[in-house]
């Protein structure tokens, strides 16, 4: 989105030529997000000393349901290993992985001892992945 940013601050009325809207190369971003998150996931698993078969859940940034599903496919994991909540809560930006972890823990699809792979992709472009073992936690509904 060109107009309204720091390089083109709006001092007049909002333009109506399309430059006021976000633009994204959707297919390129989709491909990059799946490929980069799977590379980062492989590196995170390697650092943890885990194999893919050790992973109980994959929790991804909830920007796009298709990206999460494609990532699970790419990694060779069943799609039900990758819970989603974007249909209910939308893209909650930086909160999306913590919100999904909390919901999965509440509905008990995520249990103490589960080995979890986290992966995210966002503006920049930036991406990352890490691993954790879900602890014994008392989780309360909001």
């Amino acid at each position: 989105m060109k107009a309204g940013g720091s390089r083109f601050p709006l001092r007049t009325a909002v333009p109506d030529d399309g430059s006021q809207y976000f633009q994204m190369r959707g297919r390129g971003v989709f491909r990059q997000s799946v490929e980069r998150m799977s590379e980062a996931a492989a590196e995170a698993l390697d650092r943890a000393g885990w194999q893919l078969r050790d992973v109980d859940r994959v929790i991804t940034h909830q920007a796009n349901a298709r990206v999460s599903a494609a990532l699970a496919t790419r990694l060779g994991l069943p799609r039900d290993a990758a819970p989603q909540n974007i249909a209910e809560v939308g893209n909650t930006a930086a909160a999306s992985i913590p919100v999904l972890l909390a919901q999965a823990a509440l509905d008990q699809s995520l249990k103490p001892g589960h080995r979890v792979l986290l992966a995210a992709f966002g503006g920049g472009l930036t991406w990352g992945a890490t691993t954790l073992t879900w602890p014994e936690l008392e989780v309360h509904a909001a």
Binding site: R27, F30, R31, R66, A69
Partner: protein, 77 residues
């Protein structure tokens, strides 16, 4: 090759293969702008068929996709 496309669409893309007929348009078959990326990645990674998502996106029918898959597999062999 048509059967390979159908199996990828049902097992990987989770699309309804009843809509996949040779004369169906790409969009009627459910192969939208993101599905062409998935299809491109899966064909390359698992079937040694290199077709870019830009190329797939330009094709209008399932038959055209199958024809290009056949040409690219022959080229790769």
């Amino acid at each position: 090759m048509f059967e390979l496309l159908k199996s990828v669409m049902s097992e990987v893309l989770l699309l309804d293969v009843d809509a996949v007929r040779p004369d169906a348009s790409r969009e009627d078959a459910g192969i939208d702008s993101l599905a062409v990326v998935e299809l491109s990645m899966v064909l390359s990674r698992h079937h040694n068929i290199e077709i870019t998502d830009d190329e797939l996106f330009e094709l209008r029918t399932v038959a055209e996709i199958v024809a290009l898959m056949e040409r690219r597999r022959r080229t790769a062999a």
